[in-house]
């Protein structure tokens, strides 16, 4: 049978709605008159029904009793393979098992946040970046106090050196998110919200991260060098060798810092065949 969800008010209910309407109108003229009218109606009309409409508009103020649901008793399933022989449980052992159960120490509670505005990105694998954030700093609190209207929170995922980005709508209270990305690329992630006027406000920017390569490199050039400690031992005579490709190279390492990078550069000198 199809159940109707339409709300059908009873006659008394309609009557009482009218009574209340009249009372409200009367109260505009004279509150005392309205009160008299209402008490008269209460005496002579059939009593008002309180009907559960099946829709909970507001949270109940009184705590409802918690129903304890007991799971249906499991029927013992006959094991397909015989279990290892369980030695008979001694009284002492039973006591021990019961006592050993409840206490699990998970350590002291840590602060919920450290009062910062920050977002940090960490690489999980070539296709996934994890970000966590906190917006408890002075700056973001000020911005949030200023913008009272609706906010559409999102993460903006920027590629290094490109203007392009894409947005990922988020729930800002989640405080962390896993983002799906492309391998072998650099990313910076901005956290912010769009106001109802379409303006995007960045509250925090992440550290740059580089996702790993998920396959082999496209570069084939060969550079050769010496293990740094063996380098000095090997070079005084000016070592030359034939690379497996058949060309002569003289190679060496020299230490030169590339600005902003800890990686040292290598140089190769081609000597011809």
């Amino acid at each position: 049978m199809k159940k109707s969800y339409q709300y059908n008010p009873s006659l008394t209910e309609i009557l009482w709605t009218i009574v209340k309407l009249i009372r409200d109108l009367l109260s505009l003229l004279s509150p005392r008159l309205a009160e008299r009218f209402y008490s008269f109606c209460s005496k002579h009309l059939p009593k008002e029904e309180t009907k559960d409409r099946g829709v909970l508009r507001y949270a109940p103020t009184v705590k409802e009793e918690v129903k304890i649901i007991t799971p249906p008793e499991e029927k013992p399933v006959k094991p397909s393979v015989s279990a290892p022989p369980v030695p008979p449980l001694k009284r002492e052992e039973l006591r021990v098992r019961i006592e050993a159960q409840p206490y699990i120490d998970r350590g002291p509670l840590l602060p919920e946040h450290y009062g910062d505005d920050r977002i940090v990105a960490l690489v999980r694998d070539p296709h996934c970046i994890f970000v966590y954030w906190d917006l408890k700093g002075f700056k973001s609190q000020e911005i949030l106090n200023y913008h009272k209207g609706p906010k559409y929170w999102s993460l903006r995922v920027h590629h290094f050196g490109e203007d392009a980005y894409y947005g990922v709508p988020i729930n800002v209270d989640a405080r962390n998110w896993y983002l799906w990305v492309t391998d072998d690329k650099g990313y910076i992630i901005d956290l912010g919200f769009s106001t109802q006027h379409g303006e995007f406000l960045t509250l925090a920017s992440s550290n740059p991260v580089q996702t790993p390569r998920a396959g082999t490199s496209r570069e084939y050039a060969e550079y050769w060098g010496f293990v740094f400690r063996e380098f000095k031992k090997a070079t005084p005579e000016g070592v030359t060798w034939v690379s497996p490709g058949g060309r002569w190279y003289e190679g060496w390492l020299f230490e030169a810092h590339v600005p902003g990078s800890p990686i040292l550069q290598t140089q190769r000198k081609e000597q011809g065949k």
């Binding site: 290892p84 084939y220 050769w224 060098g225």
Partner: protein, 531 residues
């Protein structure tokens, strides 16, 4: 003349677990089990080889927390107690199993444990680090180090924190072995480009990565994983060999799954009568593994259908497998020498605890393998990575790719829903530690004590083991507790130092509990030191 080399690398690590506040502590057993089942059997194997004048090379990465635990007097006492209890149990068991099919096995355990006790107590006076030092100076063993507390470097926020982990690790190596390490085991083989710069500062010559860390490097490595590559700054990198790894690691297809080998999950701690086994359990009396196992794997059968273990059959199997392993490596070396035209190196890294603790016959396997390689053939030779570098200092320059040896090859094991909450706190602690180290660079007295302790707490919290255990699930509450405890101690110290109100009684208590790295200098976190 050999045509190829084999480097066996045993990664030997345990997190720092010491609870002096408790008379006995469950997680401390990790160390005692490893000492009894892995480290001392390995020492026994090395000693036998040395006595028989057999040339061998093994590389072991003894991590700083493990070294610190091995020399800790309290843990040494407790380890001796653990071994004594096992010896006592076996003496009872030998009588108990008379006229049963388990008697031979019981005798084997009894002899073995008595020997373990003899080596631990009488030969090395409870300090088995001496043994490893001895084999190192004999030129047979190369000991390399790792990050201070085995912190997972790719997920650290600042370079300074990576620097501190590397530097503190190398300093600790110097304390225990009297020189600087040539090699470095990146915790979990976790690498991201840039880490090699910190290694070079510490004077490290080489480190080891998982296969794809090399193969996905740029430019493409010409010899793949069969020759080391150089990072652009001149630090050498070796890559893990897939084939030899699978043969030993895999529980299904690998050697340890052979049906004659000992079954790990059928333990006397669960099988014996409760009253009988009660004195050998922990104070809480819950049944747990006691390390005595009488059954063999038998086949794909339920635990109840396992058959009695036969030590002799298992030993023969280990010899057979050692022969097979060598044969395969020879074939590999021959193939590589034909096709690549170089003396290739096959890198086989394993967790040391695999040998002995998980795979009971592992040390015997190693023993046979080393003897066979030394005596039965000429093509293959054991080598350590640093010897290989001295012989072949020239290598292709390749920037390795970010990788780990964990499940799926990247960081997911240490960064997922079960443990991602820790990084928020760890990163903040990193930044605060750097701030403290820079602003209190010249601190003296109690402030210095507190700063050193703060550095220790941060290092301990960073240990990759906690994140790993949270992912694995078993013992997760302990890992959570350790992470929270160290971070919360760090926060307290930070606040006390900032307010200049150091609670000395509390400080002393924590110093006593977290007694790792007595030599630590908090200035490893300072920027000034690096200039």
């Amino acid at each position: 003349m050999p045509i190829g080399y084999l480097a066996i690398i045993l990664h030997t690590h345990l997190p720092f677990v010491k609870h002096p506040e408790h008379e006995e502590f469950l997680e401390e057993d990790w160390l005692f089990e490893a000492v009894t089942e892995t480290y001392i059997p390995l020492i026994d194997v090395y000693q036998g080889l040395l006595d028989d004048n057999i040339d061998f090379r093994i590389t072991m990465s003894l991590t700083p927390p493990l070294c610190e635990m091995l020399v800790d007097p309290l843990l040494q006492d407790r380890c001796a107690r653990y071994i004594n209890k096992r010896v006592e149990l076996m003496e009872r068991e030998v009588h108990h199993t008379r006229n049963t099919p388990f008697h031979n096995t019981a005798l084997m355990y009894q002899q073995r444990l008595s020997k373990v006790r003899y080596i631990y107590e009488d030969v090395y006076k409870r300090n088995i680090l001496d043994a490893f030092r001895k084999f190192q100076s004999a030129g047979k063993l190369e000991i390399i180090t790792s990050a201070a507390t085995h912190g997972f470097l790719p997920l650290m926020l600042t370079e300074d924190a990576i620097h501190a982990q590397v530097q503190a690790g190398c300093n600790n190596y110097k304390k225990h072995f009297g020189k600087l390490p040539k090699g470095f085991w990146l915790p979990e083989c976790g690498y991201r480009p840039g880490i090699e710069a910190e290694l070079k500062k510490a004077g490290v010559e080489f480190f080891i990565l998982d296969t794809h860390g090399i193969l996905h490097g740029s430019p493409r490595p010409k010899y793949g994983i069969f020759a080391p590559i150089l990072c652009p700054n001149g630090v050498a990198v070796f890559g893990r060999d897939v084939e030899s790894s699978k043969q030993v690691w895999s529980a299904k297809d690998g050697y340890p799954g052979d049906w004659n080998y000992r079954e790990f999950y059928r333990d006397l701690g669960y099988d014996a009568d409760y009253d009988y086994i009660r004195p050998y359990l922990h104070a809480d009396g819950v049944r747990r593994n006691v390390g005595i196992k009488y059954y063999k794997i038998t086949g794909n059968v339920p635990l109840s259908d396992k058959q009695p273990y036969d030590p002799n059959a298992a030993r023969e199997k280990a010899a057979e497998h050692a022969g097979n392993f060598m044969f395969n490596r020879q074939a590999q070396a021959r193939y590589l020498s034909e096709h690549l035209g170089i003396k290739s190196i096959i890198i086989s890294p394993y967790d040391a605890e695999l040998y002995g603790h998980w795979w009971f016959e592992g040390p015997q396997f190693l023993n046979y393998l080393i003897r066979k390689i030394a005596c039965d053939q000429q093509e293959l030779k054991l080598i350590t990575p640093s010897e290989y570098i001295s012989e072949n200092p020239k290598a292709q320059i390749v920037t390795p790719s970010q990788s780990t040896w964990g499940d799926k090859g990247y960081n997911e094991v240490w960064l997922n829903g079960s443990n991602d909450w820790i990084y928020r706190h760890l990163h903040k602690a990193e930044e605060r530690m750097i701030e403290l180290a820079n602003s209190y660079y010249n601190a003296e007295g109690d402030t210095k004590r507190a700063l050193n302790l703060a550095a220790r707490e941060l290092l301990l919290a960073q240990s990759s083991d906690w994140a790993f255990i949270m992912t694995a699930g078993t013992m997760a509450p302990y890992a959570e507790r350790r992470t929270r405890e160290h971070i919360s101690r760090f926060i307290t110290l930070y606040e006390q130092i900032k307010k200049n109100q150091i609670d000395l009684t509390w400080l002393q208590d924590i110093e006593y509990k977290d007694s790792i790295f007595q030599e630590i200098d908090f200035r490893v976190y300072a920027k000034l030191q690096k200039l």
